[in-house]
């Protein structure tokens, strides 16, 4: 113990570490009414870290070459000790991370936390959701299975509906007329280098915004009608008399992280192929399209929208408009008050929107 103490004192004299701990941990006060939904951000940080670490481990044996990719993934799954564990943690983890992103988004939506002064938190967060879906899409191609190949063919094809430049754009994205070895090269670079860096940077911005505005207090029925920030000068939301982040809320964060891990390992151990279809066990064959190619569950709604509109460009426009609306929500919904039960119009639109998303996904799954 004295050795640890000495080391601590050595660092303390030089860096004043206790002041940082006081400011960021024990003296960082959160509202007394804070609830467990606020731990989802930490769960996402954990989930992202897990994806990065398992991804780096996969890179050791994965070969990004159309002739060797499928084989290298089979070797990881069947021959390398615990390769199956690392690969499944990565593949199942991507699905769970997207699910957690939706939960985080819905929680800040219903608590009205996107309103002034947290518009930038929302915009950066929504961008993160889309980038994480993008990193999943590019990762989907890498095992070079029938599923990878044809799901990527369908996904990249819809870009072609954009007028004038569409056709060229598809070719640009694929690196050729059809999905093939050049596509693997591009998707690999985007999946392992470009998007991880962009996402990490954007998470940094997301947390910076949080630090500057201070965390919100959950809305309650008894809040004054004007809980949305008024005035035009900078102000940090501090919560005097609140609970310290460390150890109080940190424990809640750890509880939620444990639940996340339990779900992840539950799927990995008891239903490892939950997110796989038979086509993901067959190597890609560019001359044979399997029947019923479906995207991952979180793209099913987009997939179904493209199918129900008679022309692809209308489907794309509807999606683009919907996404833009969600991204700019804090600038559209600027009304006072954050307590959801006192905002009937908001509740109808949000619940209706979520119900529609779920219905479209189920429809897409069954069709």
């Amino acid at each position: 113990m004295t050795l640890v103490r000495k080391l601590y004192d050595w660092v303390e004299v030089r860096l004043g570490i206790s002041e940082v701990i006081e400011k960021e941990m024990t003296g960082y006060l959160l509202p007394r009414t804070i609830n467990n939904w606020y731990s989802l951000g930490s769960v996402l940080l954990f989930a992202f870290t897990l994806q990065v670490i398992s991804g780096i481990l996969l890179l050791i044996y994965y070969v990004p070459d159309a002739d060797k990719a499928f084989k290298s993934v089979s070797v990881i799954m069947n021959e390398i000790p615990f390769g199956w564990l690392i690969r499944l943690c990565h593949a199942v983890g991507s699905n769970l991370m997207v699910a957690t992103l939706f939960l985080h988004m819905f929680s800040v939506l219903f608590m009205g936390s996107y309103k002034k002064p947290r518009e930038l938190q929302w915009v950066s967060g929504f961008t993160l959701l889309n980038l994480v879906m993008g990193i999943s899409l590019t990762g989907y191609l890498l095992p070079w299975s029938q599923l990878s190949f044809w799901a990527t063919t369908v996904a990249t094809n819809s870009v072609g509906a954009i007028p004038v430049i569409g056709e060229y754009l598809v070719e640009f994205v694929r690196g050729g007329k059809l999905v093939g070895p050049p596509t693997l090269g591009r998707f690999f670079a985007v999946h392992v280098a470009v998007l991880p860096l962009v996402i990490a940077g954007l998470i940094g911005a997301h947390l910076f915004f949080l630090k500057r505005t201070g965390i919100s207090a959950p809305p309650t029925r008894n809040d004054p009608a004007t809980t949305t920030r008024q005035g035009s000068s900078y102000h940090y939301d501090k919560h005097e008399g609140g609970i310290p982040f460390f150890p109080n809320f940190f424990l809640h964060d750890m509880t939620s992280v444990s639940i996340y891990m339990a779900c992840l390992l539950g799927v990995v151990f008891f239903s490892p192929y939950l997110f796989f279809t038979p086509d993901s066990f067959v190597p890609a064959n560019p001359f044979q399209t399997p029947a019923h190619i479906k995207p991952e569950w979180y793209f099913l709604a987009n997939y179904q929208i493209l199918k129900i509109f008679p022309s692809e460009i209308i489907g794309l426009t509807v999606q683009g408009a919907g996404m833009t609306f969600i991204a700019l929500l804090p600038f559209v919904d600027r009304g006072d008050g954050r307590y959801p039960l006192k905002r009937p119009l908001f509740m109808v639109c949000s619940l209706g929107g979520i119900a529609m998303f779920i219905a479209l996904s189920i429809w897409g799954h069954l069709s």
Partner: protein, 139 residues
């Protein structure tokens, strides 16, 4: 005092859980990273005698490392490890001089592997070689 006992108990529990978790993560990760056992390469190597030119040398893999056979002036065959004992570069055969030279730092070895000059501290490792019916067997 009672406070201290409780604190110690809880800290021990947390430490224990942390240690078990660290172990449960480290074990699969280290197994995953551990070098894989290749094909069984402990077997002896056979080379047809005619592949070894007179006063020439032939390099090959032996137990996963570089090795060499040379035919000496008297016609007999020696097998040596080709790994220089200085810093592990692979020695080259100089047919004209009948010597090995290490290209990295100029170590010189005789055809029997003895150090003739330069930094190597030890002779090249000797391997067992037998010639029978026109086949050289090493190991």
């Amino acid at each position: 005092m009672e406070q201290d006992g409780r604190r110690l108990f809880l800290m021990t529990c947390i430490g224990g859980v942390a240690a078990v978790t660290a172990g449960a993560v480290a074990y699969p990760v280290i197994s995953y990273l551990a070098p894989r056992k290749g094909k069984d390469n402990s077997a002896s190597v056979t080379i047809p005698e005619k592949e070894l030119p007179p006063d020439g040398a032939k390099f090959f893999q032996y137990h996963g490392k570089a090795a060499v056979i040379v035919r000496k002036k008297d016609g007999s065959v020696t097998a040596l490890s080709a790994v220089c004992t200085h810093l592990g570069c692979i020695v080259q055969w100089e047919a004209k001089k009948g010597e090995f030279i290490c290209p990295c730092h100029g170590g010189q070895f005789s055809a029997e592997g003895k150090v003739l000059g330069g930094p190597p501290p030890k002779p090249l490792e000797q391997l067992k070689a037998t010639v029978a019916n026109g086949v050289i067997t090493i190991g």
